[in-house]
Symmetry: C2
Amino acid sequence: MNYSRQRESIKQYLMSTKEHPTAEIIYQHVKEDYPKISLATVYRNLTLLVDSGEALKISTGDGTDHYDGNTTEHGHYYCKCCHKLIDLDIAPTTGQILAASSEVLGTIETASLMFTGVCKDCIINEEK
Amino acid sequence: MNYSRQRESIKQYLMSTKEHPTAEIIYQHVKEDYPKISLATVYRNLTLLVDSGEALKISTGDGTDHYDGNTTEHGHYYCKCCHKLIDLDIAPTTGQILAASSEVLGTIETASLMFTGVCKDCIINEEK
DNA sequence: AGAAAAATAATAATTATTACTATTTTTTAT
DNA sequence: ATAAAAAATAGTAATAATTATTATTTTTCT
């Protein structure tokens, strides 16, 4: 894998935000610095970053995948109302990881907790 | 929501299998009983079943969503090699759910653990 | 049984993602 | 520093999953 400024820019943006942007949103941002970048380049590099462990892909089932530059162990909360993804300081325990590993008799490369519900902001808006 | 035999057949099939079939695979199966069923009908009913809590949608990021008729709390393991989804008898602890709930100050409707790696069968095949 | 409401089949349309190819950028070796 | 080789890119076409549309059929209610 050779260096490329476009990939570097994608990575910088991913690490700078707490949002969990989609490929399209990443594309819009990186475009400010590289106006000629192609959406296909964004997708290709996101796949490279995920495969090399420099980013995470999060699939919520809302039609488009989200990406996360924070690769430390953490959980996610998905609001089914506003479709926001929120980081949580909650990770599977080593006990849970070991249990999973011995249950499937295979390797464990990633382990994560996912929660869904209606977030605080949406609850407040519903009341109005 | 009115009764429909097609939806009933989809539900039966989902509850009868431990695989985590995609809409397309469900379509192929239900077609044996209802040869004229439409793929759009499968999608529509899967959405209805998921929304009413009678099935789960699982997004692995492999391009197509998977469905699960087992709605009891359990975790999943996704083999990134053969793309199989395997049920695990591992669920988030109440402690983890409470922690998530107080961290986001929103409701928790679903909570699940997801693991990825290379499953036993794929490890054996790689050795050959 | 007959009217109203909901569901379906068939297909068109949409949207996210990947594939392709000629050109440009990056690396490597001189 | 420069030229060849390898990798990456932009632009666009193609693919594949999902959703929307509409005329017809099924289900429910009275």
